[in-house]
Symmetry: T
Subunit: 154 residues, 12 copies
């Protein structure tokens, strides 16, 4: 453990934030695919495609945040049961989904995660600029999704 | 529903097999990423990369099988809680994982799913050749993974 | 003719199914382009693009099925007059087309062809697995289109 | 209709030329594929490939000319029955085709269309330079095909 | 100046048309981006993307037309103040924009420019065929945009 | 061996068919390259290229079939001596080869293998759909080659 | 507006900085193209190309900054009149431009904007790390341009 | 010769212009490469690259114009002796070349050809719009080169 | 020097950190290539490839950090003698290297540099956010390498 | 035969060396694929991939050497029986292969061929530099493989 | 001239061989294009394409050999008049060319140049291995063309 | 060591030449980057880019030559201290560099290395053609750089 560049005292705090972020992003991934599949309505074609792109964005950051935990010497937990129990975004409906309903559900959930990521940037920024920088890039992408989902409903 | 090409009497049976396959593939995806991240040992570099490729294969077939359920007029359920509760592959360990341990875990789980897919091909082949053909392609890819994981341990 | 791998007794039956499939797919190609061009309404941009993709799918399978007839030693007939006379999908309207109208027309016609292809898989599967396999791949793509066109109207 | 850039008095004339060109190009497309499939003889490999390329050229210009009609405010008609009835290139033989026969048939038909396109350039050039420019590019490609088919027979 | 291929007497007339075209195209670029950003409503995703593509088309032709002025020995003026003062397309609204409103605004402005370009083809065609040919290609792309914006509102 | 997804009783039968197919495909590879190199005559350029493409097709399926044997728990034998002794396609001539002679030789040998593959699909289809599916794809490509070689001689 | 991740109190301040940055970057875009076109002198070829690359960099960041304003719930204003009135970089000369003159003009203007961006990073860093991070990336690219323009004159 | 789309009376005139253009473009190609190789001076790197690009442009149009002669039923003559005897651009110096000297030589020769091409557009435009269109595209590229070579010397 | 965007008082401090980082990264580059070449042992293939990728990462950041010094108005020193004298990472062994030995050596040296970069982020963050941001990206990549080298030895 | 550039007296000697090289390279190809398929052990993943790359290298040079024989007017013999009888590398084991065993087998066989190629360079260099140059490139690639296989066992 | 790596005494001899090679390759380029254009007969399509590829090969080596002369401190002469006067390959016929005639003409001329290049390798090999190596690569490509043209006539 | 293809008696001599070449090439790499960074003057843009390309060429051959030493059974030494002590090219100036100064410095150093490589080709050619061939390719690239740097100063 001498060869972990980050100071020992900071590792648990950073790893904890990474674990929470990974759980939320994997939950969003399942949400986005759930919507990509069960979608109905006149906006089907464009939302089907957009949701796939959003889903890929979640996986990209999941990998970055999970590996950041390992870099600071801690394991990450991405198992389905753990995600289901800890993502804390509320239930997502089963069955078919109307396009308007998906816009409302996804914009609400992305907004929640985006806000939590902003709080993490605040906390992590005091400990580790490198991790904060990674969260800032995620924050930017989530804010973009939140904007796009929001204005489509206006 | 008149515009669903598959005969109405066959739809539930096909959709049920798709739901089970999607649950197992999503579980395997989480397993493969869990291993990709928490891996340790001399085989790290090659297994880290191989597990990422296997994970992408699981997602590719998840999308194909999930959308097949929709094509036959049924919704699919890929929510984390549902996957955790229904994949029925046994628990996957948390924390760090040794390379040999990952080979054993993944080869066992891939083998289980590959065998179930073979049974599904049998059952579905009597109902719908088109769906069976999709399962055969998945079967081939799972058999390849099972082989590679198996001989690396020999 | 000794160098045609398929047994002589099976060739006419297979070629006949190929001829019928080619006629329907070329008719669908013209329908999709007719719609791609004369389309109007708020869904214009997304349907204009989707119809082009569907049209390219029809041509891809037309070539595969037509060449399958040649492979079993029979000519194929893809002339405009023959297609117009034999595709048997009913007339397609001339002039401008509303987006909703196109969704209804195309989903109806794709559904008809998808159902006929399913019957062909049944018949051909008893004669030649290789040809059946090609029809299964077409069947999968048509079922996907039928699904997408159907749920956009819901 | 106020937002159609072309002057109202010119639209019918331009659209009429586009309709005739689209009909001929779609007929040539079917001819080229008919030959691509049913071809026989020592020149098979090279003509099979060349005919596919020519066919793709016909579709490229079909799309350009059809959409030009829409741009000037008129619908286009690309339905199989309409093409069969109006392309006015004479019948194309069914069944197998010898390579020499295909060279003769295709060079004759391409020559006819190339000559009609030249007359259209003359007529349209007096009405609309932009449309004439599109026809000139088609004319160049048809003249190239006519040359290649002609000298291969010499 | 002896090494300017165009005859001296024609240069001012050509350069003047290029200057006017550049001003209008740069104004359309700002309009398209203004709409790409401030857009709202159910058509958001597809219009956001389409407006970016249109904006890139304006810049492509801006460069061609501006460099044509230089080729005939005259400078071009693309400064923001000059564009704002001379594009002569009327004001574009600030603040958020509804999707329907953007379709109306953009189709009106593209229509105006497309009509002016048609007049320029007429005038320039009498002086310089090479420049006229460039304007014809622009005319074709503007007519395509005008068509697409128009039918989406029908 | 518990982690071989295919049922133990089926493995030998499948592996035996794979071994025979691999031997024939490797033999065809050597035949195609032998012809690619020693070819003479007016069709040289086109056949030289076509034979290279066919050769690559043989290698693609060799790898798929060989690895299928491994997947079912059996080794494969692709050694030159074994291929020479077991491919059972008759001798191939040494020295220079006329273009017409190559067409005759290759079309005869491809036809033989294509027919044997059809029999294997029959036998294997009763045991393992997944392997049969792989053979069907090979069958399709061999039938295409047989057709092209056949009609070039007509 | 509840679904805007950034806290309400911070939005105006961030949006104001984004508006100023967008105005300056669009002005620099017009400057760079103005120089790309009207350039003269022995350094023509290399500067013509470099100015095009710089211009594309300005547009890339314009889009990022403009959309950041939208993400925080505010519209952006990129209209030509607004840019001309607010960019506040002083006038840019019309007519032909000597290469040395362009180096001087552009290095001066890039330097001004780069300094303003540095001040914005200071101010924004206290409010929103995510926006500051975007400005830092812009700052790095502007500093690189300032360096290259500066040393070319030494 | 009945299958040459262009009217018989126009062919000689068009072919004559094509022959002259081909001779000049091939001469320019040799000039550009001669300069690309024997160049010296501070502008070496940028001119070496630019001259290669110009050379490739000459070959691209050579092929288009030469094949246009064939399309109208006439042979073309691109033999070195014929080019040397008929290009009529005056001698090009042997031995090493200074960068400034190359700019002067090439801008003079490009200017001469560009002017001749303009005259050909005039003459050919009265006979064949399709050929004129090809010459207009060449004219545009030559005018661009003339501009770039001219301003680099200013 | 007025046209250096960074405030004069900050330049020396930033340039000093850049110089130290460049020296360490170039030393790591030589270390990685030294290992890439002289490597032995069962892990040869995977480490040979990984070390090449790490080496390329060092060069990528060397260029970014070196040019950052220039951007703030200071020269950089990357000469071999200077690197050898100032990188301060201790000697690297000559001759053949065992795979385990390379893992130990490289993980130790990457860890040292990664820790120094973390200290630099601290110091530079107080002076210049833009430079700190660049160091944070380097820090992330070094931490990733340190993790991978570390767990391969566990 | 007058149009064979190589002097008649040299042809047999060169062709003989080409024939021997082709036989050895084709044998190595079969060896590498035999190992790629039947491999077992912890190094499976990396060797499976490396052996495929080596196999492709053998085929690349097989084609070059075989066509060199043709270029000097002699046929080549690449038939399986001939390769099995003349490659003279000793037998290769059937059945499963341990990773260590494959490293030993392949490094021995590559070493034998690499040494023979070195002798051929000596002999051929006295006759034909062009052929020798081709053998030198093969020699370099074989020496690289021999090195990599050798050090992996150390 | 002190900074020309080749010894002064060798330069003239090497440059002389380069000049002769450049003259022949440029002549072959014109021959190949002359044939590409004026070709007739059943082999048109394949020879038209092959001649274009050969022509590009001549230009590739022309550039390498011409720049080799410059590298040894001598200018090169690639002017049309010089090529026409010095290539010494005999006249090439004007007007239309039959496919068989082109095969005979080109194979004769390629053979002549290939033989001269072999003699140059002999002479240059005694002076400069680096230049000889370049000629050997050209020799290989010419021998390949000579072979292909030769066997197509057999 | 029995599995090193090169004869034992030749290995030391070849490895010694490789070591010297690697040292010089790595030194040139540092020189080129030193110049790429600290450059000033009107030729900045083009030299900045050219020096990067030259630097990449040095690294490409460094890898080839270093691995050649390993192939003949000897380690290579590329450590910074060793390069600084043994490259023997004289000191390279620190601090800012004028463009003319860089041309002089680099052309002198490339000339020195190019001459040494020529001597190595002489010596190595008597021992090992394969290594000599690699040095000839390096020699060609260095001679090209020497030429380009030389004529830019003329
Ligand atoms: Fe990862
Ligand atoms: Fe999907
Ligand atoms: Fe086809
Ligand atoms: Fe279209
Ligand atoms: Fe431009
Ligand atoms: Fe494989
Ligand atoms: Fe955008
Ligand atoms: Fe051509
Ligand atoms: Fe750089
Ligand atoms: Fe080959
Ligand atoms: Fe060159
Ligand atoms: Fe390497
Ligand atoms: Mg940051
Ligand atoms: Mg089946
Ligand atoms: Mg299948
Ligand atoms: Mg025109
Ligand atoms: Mg199947
Ligand atoms: Mg015109
Ligand atoms: Mg045009
Ligand atoms: Mg920060
Ligand atoms: Mg950042
Ligand atoms: Mg040699
Ligand atoms: Mg050599
Ligand atoms: Mg060589």
């Amino acid at each position: 453990d001498e060869r972990i560049p980050m100071e020992a005292a900071k590792r648990d705090a950073v790893a904890k934030e990474m674990q929470a972020t990974v759980a939320e992003l994997l939950e969003l991934y399942h949400d986005a695919k759930q919507s990509h599949w069960n979608l109905r309505g006149p906006l089907y074609y464009q939302l089907h495609e957009v949701l796939q792109e959003y889903a890929e964005t979640y996986l990209k950051y999941t990998d970055i945040m999970a590996e950041r935990a390992l870099q600071v010497g801690r394991p990450i937990d991405g198992r389905t049961g753990v995600i289901a129990a800890t993502a804390d975004l509320g239930g997502y409906p089963g069955g078919f989904l109307e396009d308007r309903q998906v816009l409302d559900l996804m914009s609400s959930r992305v907004d929640i995660v985006a806000k939590r990521v902003r709080e993490r940037i605040e906390r992590v920024g005091k400990i580790d600029e490198t991790t904060s920088n990674l969260l800032q890039e995620l924050s930017h992408d989530l804010d973009k999704q939140a904007w796009q989902l929001r204005v489509t409903q206006q």
